[in-house]
């Protein structure tokens, strides 16, 4: 009986220790592949398929299948098997990746796209454009910070920034949505706030007059 109690206590302490040590699971940083474009990912996938490492469809999406293929390749070729296609891996693969002018021409664009992806992936396209437009409307407003990064990184402004999802690599849709917004598209007519009625708990945000609803989000002027 005593031994059982000791064993139980030890298990309990181990579990407690394990829970404490578990690092907060934040999404991995971007830059899985140079350029992060569909073309680049397809090029990598095609090459890996020809070499026999990649068995799935060449779809331009960097998922777990692609990553394992990259790792397997890196292992065989004596490279650091981290699943990231950097310059060394690119050379070993004997392909040339284009550093797309799109993603690198503006850090603001990329940050905006990350925010859209983090907050609204899965929403209809116009909903993603709307989210990007809200960020830009806040920049113009006297009530909010005056830069795109200031608005996005304002503490507690966006839940997806709080929990690290902002660091995920945005997909093509998010990039296009951000581009549209930066070129002037604003389906919300100047709204400064949005929320998901199914999950929003702040009493204050419910008090705002809703101008329109797109997908799961309601948009308000504030």
């Amino acid at each position: 009986m005593k031994k059982r109690i000791i064993a139980f206590l030890l298990i309990a302490v181990s579990l407690a220790g394990a829970l404490a040590v578990r690092s907060d699971f934040h999404a991995d940083a971007a830059n899985i592949i140079k350029g992060d474009t569909v073309q680049n990912i397809k090029a990598v996938q095609t090459r890996l398929k020809n070499l026999g490492y990649y068995k799935k469809a060449v779809d331009g999406v960097f998922g777990s299948g692609t990553r394992s293929a990259v790792k397997a390749f890196q292992k065989d070729y004596g490279l650091k098997a981290d699943g990231i296609v950097g310059p060394a891996t690119e050379k070993a693969l004997k392909i040339t990746l284009t550093s797309g002018g799109g993603t690198t021409s503006s850090s603001d664009l990329y940050l905006l796209a990350r925010c859209v992806y983090a907050e609204a992936r899965g929403e209809p396209y116009e909903g993603q454009v709307a989210i990007a437009a809200v960020v830009l409307n806040r920049v113009k407003s006297s009530q909010f910070p005056n830069t795109i990064s200031g608005v996005i990184y304002q503490p507690w402004a966006f839940t997806a920034v709080n929990d690290g999802q902002i660091n995920l690599t945005p997909n093509e849709t998010a990039m296009k949505a951000a581009k549209d917004a930066l070129n002037g598209w604003d389906p919300t007519y100047g709204c400064l706030y949005y929320y998901n009625p199914a999950t929003a708990t702040s009493k204050w945000i419910w008090s705002l007059t809703v101008v329109m609803k797109i997908g799961r989000h309601s948009f308000a002027r504030g």
Partner: protein
Amino acid sequence: MQKTEIKQSKEKNAKWISGIVVLSLLSIALLIGMLVHIEQSGRYRDSLENVYQKSLMDVVADMNNIEVKLSKLLVVESQNQRAALSADIWRQSAETASNLASLPIEHNSISSTFTFVNQLGDYVNYINTKLSDGGEMTIEEEQTIETLHDRAIALRGSLRNMLEGLGDGYRITDNIKRKGPQIGNSDIVDGLKEFDANNADYPKLIYDGPFSDNVKSDVYRFLENKSETTKEQAYTWVNEHMSDIKSITYNGITKADADTHSFNVLLNDNSSVYIQLTVRGCYPINICSYRQVSAAGISKEDAIKSAQDYAASIFGLDNFSGVWYNADSQDNTAYVNLAPVIDDVVYYTDLVIVKVALDNGKVLGLESKAFLINHADKELEPIVLTAEQSKSLVSKKIVISGTRLAVIPKGKSGYVLCYENYGSYKGYDYMVYINVTTGEEEDVLRVIDSEQGSMLM
């Protein structure tokens, strides 16, 4: 009998002991890991605390400086002093806004403080410009500056009280909680709320500047004499102007500055198009869609023509001209900026932006808010200068390659007629806009990324 029992029990014991040893080692390892993690967290927290403290201290220090400078601004007589003080106030209020933005305070508690700080710098700059141009302050404007100074005194006071209240050893990071937005840092917030509460009699600031309280709602001048359309008429528009339609969903009327019919149209290739048509006149104000375009097939000229033809068919005007072309080689789409050209004058204020797919030239998107708001008769300044004269007013460093007349946006809702002088210096392309009457430089634009976009002359 007893020997085997003892033997069995000894074996059992051995199993228990080895189990306990393994678990103990595991626990110790985990405990050590936990301690290392806690220590590291502590270090992160200390650096973050320092950043927050610095931001808070800077807000207080800057507001002190701003208040002093404002008080001097009320009494200086010379333009030099006024210009220097205004520049300082503008810079420091921008810094204050930036520092406020970094503090972990829920936005609602500080949004009026933000507005105050932003408008303060902006307004001071506006007055300074006005006076430097030879104008005079109106009675209201003098009053406004006095009020702004009073507000600055109040804010500075609230911040001082707040700091005293916090005392030494106050840690901002003590109040960061895991769950979403919280009041957190209520001591800081209360300090600012006191300032906030006295904002009731704060005047609306109407002036020519980006943060003014001006014209919150837009007047859509192009729609002024157009009649209202019904849902059925809107459906007809969609059917007439779009092809390969699979299904149409009507989302109802969105009530905004211009009421619009909102649709989601599903095409045969399963891409979805979002359209907002104005109730008055049934014009598209926003068309939002995208599809993957695998490769470019048409030329730049064809893309521009496609955009022009589309805009012409939508708005019934044949004078749209491409003024800016921005192609994305990654997406194989192009943003074509169109402006009406009337009597050789390019109306940048009445812009329509069309997104074109570069494989077949089909239109993927449209944005026409500026056009619908601004396209109406305009009273233009009389042309006093010739094009040649305007060129001579542009910096000699710029090698001018072209000049034409253009109406550009000026201020929140204004516009001005200028000569647009396009040229280059040091490898950069510039557009210098010279007022046709006064010869003043109204604006200078520089092309930021000529790889992505190009001017169309």
